[in-house]
Amino acid sequence: MEIAGEILVLIGSIFLFLGALGILRMPDVFNRLQAGTKATTLGALSLILGIGFMSSGYLWKSIVLVIFIVLTNPISSSTIARASYKLKVPIFKGTVIKTEEKDFLKEEKK
């Protein structure tokens, strides 16, 4: 149980690092949302469950915390995406856009 918890903590910290690297390196707000939120959610989930496995007194509170993070992190990500869509944040030039949203791209190219 101890070894499994340590491996989960290591995987979680590596995923947190990769999520932050994606936030720094991606070219666009929406790409940054994709990279940052998913990797950060998985990293926090794995790290907190690993701490819960390592010592038995932490298990129930870590499960509560993991359920809360999994429920609320996509909501905040969706709210940020909707706000930046309504603010018409400039999108990356190489983005492939289907027919319904051509006007959005044209407005941004001016």
Binding site: I14, A20, I23, G36, G43, L47, L65, I80
Partner: protein, 83 residues
């Protein structure tokens, strides 16, 4: 040993997200970086609770997660225009 390596990775993650928080071109970038720093800080509080051996710090982590979520959603609704 593994906890030390994990702390190094988490410190680098907070540093990279903080660079995006400083140089971000629009306010959505800054809000996204602040959201990620909130989630990473929750994980750090849990790790500190294990290192110091105090179970009561898990409650601090839960309250911090709730307050960070409410703050990010409030700022995003404000940017959108209708709070």
């Amino acid at each position: 040993m593994i906890i030390t390596i994990s702390m190094i990775f988490i410190g680098l993650a907070v540093l990279l997200a903080f660079i995006r928080l400083v140089i971000g071109p629009t306010s959505s970038d800054r809000l996204l970086a602040a959201d990620s720093i909130t989630t990473i800080t929750t994980a750090v509080i849990v790790l500190v609770a294990y290192l110091l051996g105090r179970v009561i710090y898990m409650d601090v982590a839960i309250v911090y997660a709730v307050l960070g979520f409410v703050g990010v959603v409030a700022v995003a609704r404000y940017l959108e225009g209708g709070i």
